[in-house]
C-alpha cells in the first residue's frame, strides 16, 4: 500500500447557513488521477479548495507527506506543492498574461533602477505557455484581450509551471474546447506518470471515467463511495451521486424536428469584426435551434447580438413582429431572455439574494400598475420559481454566492422563465452543472418548446446539441458551415467535419 501524499481527516466546513462538508476523510496517493464527482453542492470544490489553501476548514486535520498541512493561502500551498485551477475565472484582467503568471514573483526579473525587466518576464511567460502547448498567446498580451478559454489555459500554465505535487482541477474542462481539453489531459497524465497526483473535478461522467484512475463520490457534504478503475460503472456512480435512480428521459425522446410556422426572431446578415461574417439565422416559435462549433467560431458573440447586448457592424436582428432588437431593454420588452456562459459575472449578482436575482427580470409580472413593488406579491412570484425549479436553498433571502453552481444556474433560469420569456438565448446552459440538474434543464427546455417558446441553445457539448435541437447550426471562423435537421442517425463525426 502506497503512503498518501495528502490525508484529510474529519474535515468540516460551513458557509453561513450551509453545511458544505460534514466530517469528510479523503486521501490522495502518488501516481493517481482521482476524480471527485457529485451533484452541485456536494462539497467537491470545498474539500479541494481547503487542500489548496483557498480557505480553512472549521475543524479537522490535514497531513501532507505525513506532516501537518495548514496553508494560509493558495500561493503558499502552490509553493509547497498543491496547486489548484479554480472553477470560474482565477486570473486578473487589466494586466498582462506575464504579470498574471508571475504575480507576486516579479522580483525574479530585476530591471534597471528597481524596475521590472518586462522583456525577460514576457519571454519566460512565453516559455511557460509553450511548455503546456499554448502557442498563440504571448506573455505581453493583455489578459482582458483573451477569451474565457484562453484565460483558463493561462491559469493552467501558472499552476503547472510550479511543478505541483498535487494538481487540483476544478470543473475546468467545461470552459475548454477539445483542443484545450487535450492539453489539460496530457498534463494530468504527465503528472501521474511522474508519481504525482491529480484531483479532478468534473460533472462529465464519460470524461471522468476515461481520465481518472480512482473516483470518489460526494453527496451533501459527505463521501458516499470510492471506485477504482476496474470497478467503474456509470449506473452505480450515478446512483451514488444522487442517491436514487434517475427517472425519465435525459434528452428529448423524439427524433422528428418540429416547430410552429410563425417566426420568433431573425438575424439577418450579421457581421462583427472578424468574429462573425454575414451570418443569418431564423428561429421559429416552438423550435430549439442549436448552435455549435469550436469556442472561437463566433457563436458566443452571436448570442449576445441576438439579445441586443452587442451591436453588430452590419446586419440586424428582427422579431417575427418586425421589431428591431437594438438593445437589451428592447429585447426584454419583446420577451427575450439571455443566459450567459459567464454565469457569475453576466447572469447573476452574487452579492444579491435569490429573491433579488429572480425578481429583477420579472417585476412587471407582479408589480402593481407596473410600478409599485409589494413584498407579498414578490415573495409569491419568487417562491413559485424556487419550487418549480427545485432550487436547493435555505430560503429565498439566501445570498446567491452561497449556492452551488447548479443551483445558481437554476436561479438564472428562474429569472428568465418566471417572466414568461418567449425567446430564450441559452449560451452553454449546462456548463458546470451536475447530471441531475442537467436532466431537469433538458426536460424544462422540452416543456418550453412544447409551449411554443423558442430556444437558441449555444453549446460546445455535441451530445446535448444533438439530443435537444430541432435544427443544429454549425459555425466555423465566424460563418455558418452547415445546418443539420434533427435525426436519430446524426453522429458526432458527421458534425465535427464542419467545425474543424
Amino acid at each position: 500500500m502506497k503512503t498518501p501524499i495528502l490525508e484529510m481527516k474529519h474535515i468540516r466546513k460551513t458557509f453561513a447557513s450551509t453545511v458544505a462538508l460534514g466530517d469528510v476523510d479523503l486521501s490522495v496517493y502518488p501516481g493517481e488521477i482521482r476524480g471527485l464527482i457529485g451533484e452541485n453542492g456536494s462539497g467537491k470544490s470545498t474539500i479541494s479548495s481547503i487542500a489548496a489553501g483557498m480557505q480553512k476548514a472549521d475543524s479537522g486535520e490535514m497531513l501532507y507527506h505525513g506532516e501537518a498541512w495548514d496553508p494560509d493561502s493558495m500561493i503558499e500551498a502552490l509553493s509547497k506543492g498543491i496547486g489548484m485551477i479554480v472553477q470560474e475565472s482565477g486570473t486578473i484582467q487589466g494586466v498582462s498574461v506575464a504579470e498574471n503568471l508571475f504575480l507576486g514573483e516579479t522580483k525574479q526579473f530585476p530591471g534597471k533602477l528597481g524596475t521590472i525587466d518586462r522583456k525577460a518576464m514576457n519571454a519566460k511567460a512565453d516559455e511557460a505557455l509553450q511548455a503546456i502547448g499554448v502557442k498563440n498567446v504571448s506573455g505581453a498580451t493583455p489578459m482582458g484581450a483573451l477569451d474565457f478559454q484562453t484565460r483558463k489555459l493561462v491559469e493552467i500554465a501558472k499552476v503547472v509551471m510550479k511543478d505541483p505535487e498535487i494538481l487540483v482541477v476544478d470543473e475546468t474542462t467545461t470552459a475548454l474546447s477539445q483542443e484545450g481539453r487535450s492539453i489539460l489531459y496530457a498534463l494530468m497524465k504527465k503528472l501521474r506518470d511522474e508519481g504525482k497526483a491529480v484531483l479532478f473535478i468534473s460533472h462529465d461522467l464519460d470524461e471522468i471515467m476515461e481520465v481518472c484512475d480512482t473516483l470518489t463520490v460526494l453527496r451533501d457534504g459527505a463521501i458516499i463511495r470510492h471506485f477504482t478503475k476496474d470497478g467503474f460503472d456509470a449506473d452505480a456512480i450515478r446512483t451514488s451521486m444522487i442517491g436514487r435512480e434517475l427517472e425519465g428521459d435525459y434528452y428529448r425522446s423524439d427524433y422528428t424536428p418540429s416547430h410552429l410556422e410563425e417566426i420568433a426572431v431573425r438575424a439577418e446578415h450579421i457581421s462583427l469584426g472578424e468574429a462573425l461574417q454575414d451570418v443569418s439565422i431564423t428561429v421559429h416559435k416552438g423550435e430549439i435551434v442549436g448552435i455549435g462549433g469550436l469556442s472561437h467560431c463566433g457563436m458566443h458573440p452571436l448570442g449576445k447580438i441576438l439579445f441586443g447586448a452587442v451591436r453588430p457592424d452590419s446586419g440586424q436582428v428582427v422579431t417575427g413582429g418586425g421589431v428591431k432588437i437594438t438593445g437589451e431593454a428592447v429585447a426584454m420588452k419583446e420577451n427575450f431572455g439571455y443566459v450567459s456562459k459567464d454565469r457569475d459575472v453576466e447572469s447573476l449578482s452574487l452579492s444579491a439574494s435569490i429573491r433579488d436575482n429572480i425578481a429583477i427580470a420579472g417585476m412587471e409580472q407582479y408589480a402593481v400598475n407596473n410600478f409599485l413593488m409589494l413584498s407579498s406579491r414578490e415573495k409569491v412570484y419568487v417562491d413559485r420559481q424556487i419550487a418549480d425549479l427545485s432550487i436547493k436553498c435555505a430560503d429565498r433571502d439566501q445570498q446567491v454566492s452561497q449556492l452551488s453552481g447548479g443551483n445558481k444556474q437554476k436561479v438564472v433560469f428562474g429569472k428568465w422563465i418566471g417572466r414568461g420569456s418567449e425567446v430564450l438565448i441559452l449560451d452553454c446552459p449546462t456548463r458546470g452543472v451536475d447530471i441531475g440538474v442537467k436532466r431537469a434543464m433538458y426536460q424544462l427546455m422540452t416543456e418550453l418548446k412544447n409551449e411554443g417558446k423558442s430556444i437558441v441553445m449555444i453549446s460546445e457539448e455535441m451530445p446535448e446539441l444533438m439530443g435537444m435541437s430541432d435544427r443544429l447550426i454549425i459555425m466555423k471562423d465566424g460563418k455558418i458551415t452547415h445546418e443539420f435537421a434533427r435525426s436519430a442517425s446524426l453522429s458526432d463525426a458527421e458534425i465535427i467535419q464542419y467545425m474543424i
Binding site: S45, A329, S349, A352, S404
Partner: protein, 329 residues
C-alpha cells in the same frame, strides 16, 4: 449542529448585524447624555446643536444613498450645497423673493448633480471623477461670488427675519420626514429603487437584464440633487449667511455617515435608506462626544483619527461578513 440550528444561528447573526447601527446610535445618544450631564453642561443646548447639524447631514446623505447604492461616489455634494446656497442668497438679494430663492436653490442643486452624471456618461468616465472636478469648480465659483459680494469672512447673507419662522425643530423634522419617506418609498417600493440596487451589485448583469445604466444613474443623481437642495435650504434657515467654508466637509462626512449607518461601501442590494438617517446622526453624536471628551486644543485632530478608526472597523466588519458567506467558485 444540524442544518436547522445553523440556519437559525445565521439568521440571528444577520438580524444582529441589521440592528447594530440603531443600537450604536442609541448607545452614542446615551453616552452623550451622560457626558454632558457629568460635565454640568446644558443638555437641551447640545441636543439642539446636534439636531441642527444632524438634520442637514441626514437629508443630504439620504439623497446620496441613491448614488452610493450604484457603487458610485460623489465628493462634490458639499460644494454643491455651498454653490446652491450661494446662488439662492444672491437670488434673494437681487429679487427679494423667497419663492424664487428656493426655486434657484433646488434648480442649481439638481442641475449640478445632473451635470456630473451627464458628463460621466458622455465621456465614459467614472462618475466620481467628474464629481472631483465639479467639487473644485463649484467651490471656486462660490468662493469668488462670496468674496466679491460680501467678503471672505463675513460672507453673504439673507435677512434672518425672513427664515426665522422656519428655524424650529417641527419644520425641520417635517422636511426630513417627508424627504426620507419619499426616498424610502422610491428605494424600497418602486422598480426604480430595486433596479438601482441591482445595478450597484453587478452593472454587467444589470445591463444584460435590460436595466438602462445611464437612466438609473441620472435618477440617482436627481434624488441626490434634491437632497442637496434641501440641505442648502436648511443650512440657510439655521445660519442665514453663507461663507466660503459653509458645508465644506459634507462630501466626506456623508461617506462616513452612510457607512456608520450600516450600508456597504460598495453599494448594491444590501444598501439601506435608513443608513443615512441613522449614520448621519450617529456621526454627529460621535463628533460631539469626542469634542466634549478631548481637550479642545487637540480635539479636532483626535476626533478625526477616532472617526477614521471607527470607519475602518465598520468597513472591515461588514466586508468580513460578506467574505465568509461566499462558496468557492
Amino acid at each position: 449542529m444540524d442544518n436547522e440550528a445553523i440556519l437559525r444561528k445565521y439568521k440571528r447573526r444577520q438580524r444582529l448585524i441589521d440592528i447594530l447601527p440603531v443600537v450604536a446610535l442609541a448607545a452614542l445618544f446615551a453616552i452623550l447624555v451622560i457626558t454632558v450631564q457629568s460635565k454640568g453642561y446644558r443638555l437641551d443646548m447640545y441636543l439642539k446643536i446636534i439636531f441642527n447639524e444632524g438634520v442637514v447631514l441626514a437629508v443630504v446623505a439620504t439623497g446620496a444613498v441613491f448614488i452610493y447604492t450604484l457603487g458610485s461616489f460623489d465628493i462634490s455634494l458639499g460644494a454643491s450645497t455651498l454653490f446652491s446656497a450661494t446662488l439662492g442668497v444672491m437670488t434673494y438679494n437681487a429679487t427679494e423673493s423667497l419663492a424664487l430663492m428656493i426655486l434657484v436653490i433646488f434648480g442649481v442643486a439638481v442641475g449640478c448633480s445632473l451635470l456630473s452624471s451627464v458628463l460621466a456618461s458622455m465621456f465614459h468616465i467614472p462618475v466620481f471623477v467628474t464629481t472631483v472636478a465639479m467639487m473644485s469648480v463649484l467651490s471656486a465659483i462660490a468662493a469668488q461670488i462670496i468674496t466679491t459680494n460680501g467678503g471672505a469672512l463675513g460672507g453673504i447673507s439673507i435677512p434672518s427675519a425672513l427664515v426665522k419662522p422656519l428655524d424650529n425643530m417641527g419644520f425641520k423634522i417635517a422636511v426630513l420626514a417627508v424627504f426620507w419617506l419619499l426616498c424610502f418609498f422610491v428605494f424600497d417600493f418602486t422598480k426604480i429603487g430595486r433596479k438601482q440596487k441591482f445595478l450597484g451589485g453587478n452593472p454587467v448583469c444589470a445591463q444584460l437584464t435590460g436595466i438602462q445604466v445611464n437612466k438609473y444613474a441620472i435618477i440617482a443623481f436627481v434624488m441626490a440633487g434634491i437632497g442637496v437642495g434641501l440641505g442648502a435650504f436648511l443650512t440657510l434657515i439655521y445660519t442665514p449667511s453663507v461663507t466660503a467654508t459653509t458645508a465644506g466637509s459634507i462630501g466626506m462626512n456623508i461617506l462616513v455617515a452612510i457607512v456608520f449607518g450600516g450600508m456597504p461601501i460598495s453599494g448594491g442590494p444590501r444598501s439601506r435608506i435608513y443608513s443615512a438617517l441613522v449614520g448621519g446622526f450617529s456621526y454627529i453624536l460621535l463628533n460631539n462626544i469626542l469634542k466634549l471628551l478631548i481637550d479642545s486644543n487637540v480635539g479636532y485632530g483626535v476626533s478625526q483619527i477616532v472617526s477614521a478608526v471607527f470607519f475602518l472597523a465598520v468597513v472591515y466588519v461588514t466586508s468580513l461578513n460578506y467574505r465568509s458567506q461566499t462558496l468557492p467558485r
